[in-house]
Amino acid sequence: MPDAWFSHHPSSPESTLVAGGVWQLSTLATLIQEIDALLPQITTSELCIECDTLKSLDTSGAWLLQRTLLRLEENGTCCQLKNISPEHQALLTYVQEYGQQQRKEKVTNAWLANSLVSIGQSCLFSWNEALRFIAFLGHMVTTTGRVFKNPALMRVTATLHHMEMVGIRALPIVSLTAFLIGVVIAYQGATLLKQFGANIFIVDLVAVSILRELGILITAIIVAGRSGSAFTAQIGMMKVNEEIDAMRTMGLDPMIVLLLPRLLALILTLPLLTFIADFAGLAGGALISWITLDINPILFVQQLQTVIAPSTFYVGIIKAPVFAAVIALVGCFCGFQVSGNAESVGRRTTTSVVLSIFLVIIMDAVFSIFFSEIDF
């Protein structure tokens, strides 16, 4: 005997059905199969459903019974429940009051319209986002103006805290990565230069690529991934917890409390990090030159001093504050744009990292063109 059944009555199969057993969520899957198989066969205009073997009913089971009755009535079959216990009847009435059968929606095949709509929506979103970013920049500039007039507004402790977080804490990973980049460049260059016997030019290769481009770029990318995302997540969580609203009601300007310390901290520390990265990259290059090309470190440094002009170093380091500003602004902007829930924090954090790395690389390209035009 199964746990629950819905079937023809053995004595009068035409006009009577039996609903019996345990009509509960756990038996619903089998019941609905029986019901779906049985319903199309029913053509009579009147039907009696015998419920004397119905052992127990929960709200889900009651809804299934109610729904079956509704479906039968739609097909023009008038139903009557027989021998149903008062409790079960009460539950059915309750469910009848609250439940509603889902109308089958027609699935329209409008993928073209839908995709056009989504393209339009994302264009509008980007446009609005750009407007909001411009407004954010404007707000930042006026706030900075106010702080210049009244430097006491600047949060020194917070700034120092963020300098520690984005600067000192990033030192190991930044210097290790830059060191390895130096190693890789020297290795690749060494095999090539050896063929021409131009071993000593390894110094030029390593120094120019690290100092001009790679030192700052690697540092900026790591800091964007490390600190830009942290800015977004911190500010975003504060937004979700209504901490930013609370701040406003206390007369604190989130721009001054949250943005400026992060911005200033990053602008101050990214050049320093870049300096360390340059140093680590050169060290990596020097090590490999020594191992593969037998250029000892003293020779490496002497060559460095003779062939590399200070401007090569400046080209790299000048970019650092600009990249820092880009990373901090994008990170904080995305944080302020978080709305509602934790998922939004995650989405915005991803956007923040991708966008700031992308912008850093674009800015780098712009700088390259600019420096080559002015022959720096």
Partner: protein
């Protein structure tokens, strides 16, 4: 499983979080089909007790038997089986923030049983309506709802599997009196028609008077006393007296006790 007198039986429970002892040799029993209220001052571990019973917090010692099974001795799959038989409403609803209310409720059904799609959404809509949410609330995300609505959505999710026990952590906190009364009525109705057992942590004296069969008072790391409310208020313990006879306690009319 039937015929057992106590559906929840906690014996000699000691819970420590870090170096704090929350409960010490605590005993609590819940009978099948009753509504048991748990009261206690803030920080006395009411929520911790609830979480310990449902197995989210491991007790340091003691036995917790739910449906006659020792919770701490269960394997992961047995715990999942038992999880289908109870529903939990957390303090702030604890809805999945990336799903709409309807999806939140449907997700539970989908995970537990394989049912046709339209039936799943009908059952979810039924539960959403039962807890007093408007039908359009189903398509909203939890962040778009007020605290009270989130709580009711959480209750809909707790009830969707037609559980035998429902654990409610402050279900009426933050609700307006009308909504709170409606929720009390719903809980009591379900308890009557489905034989639900309800464990309810609350500070709402009206709820306690209106629906609880017995109330357990939690203080000094133990359950001081478990008794029907009219007996409990006479219990000669200073905290109980302060709780039930304080300034905030309005004189409850006698008919408030037999609202059905």
């Amino acid at each position: 499983m039937l015929g057992e007198e106590y559906i929840i039986d906690v014996q000699g429970l000691t819970t420590r979080l870090g170096e704090y002892t929350i409960h010490e040799r605590l005993n609590l029993t819940v009978r099948r089909g009753e509504i048991l209220g748990i009261v206690g001052g803030s920080g006395t571990g009411k929520s911790v007790l609830m979480k310990t019973i449902i197995g989210l917090i491991k007790p340091s010692s003691g036995h917790i038997r739910v449906f006659g099974q020792d919770i701490s001795a269960l394997s992961e799959s047995e715990r999942q089986m038992i999880g289908k038989r109870w529903g939990v409403l957390f303090q702030d609803g604890a809805l999945f923030s990336s799903l709409t209310v309807a999806q939140n409720v449907e997700a539970v059904l989908r995970e537990a049983y394989s049912l046709p799609r339209d039936l799943v959404s009908e059952l979810a809509a039924l539960k959403i309506k039962m807890v007093g949410l408007p039908p359009e609330a189903g398509d909203k995300f939890p962040s778009e709802l007020s605290g009270g609505m989130r709580k009711r959505a959480g209750l809909a999710r707790a009830l969707v599997l037609d559980p035998e026990i429902v654990f409610l952590d402050e279900p009426t906190a933050g609700l307006d009196p009308i909504a709170a009364a409606a929720l009390d009525e719903l809980i009591q109705y379900l308890q009557k028609t489905l034989g639900l057992t309800v464990l309810i942590v609350t500070h709402d004296l009206d709820s306690l008077y209106a629906i609880c069969d017995r109330v357990a008072a939690l203080a000094e790391k133990q359950v001081l006393v478990t008794a029907p409310l009219d007996e409990l208020v006479k219990y000669p313990h200073p905290w109980v007296q302060a709780y039930f006879h304080g300034v905030r306690t309005r004189e409850q009319e006698p008919q408030a006790m037999d609202v059905n």
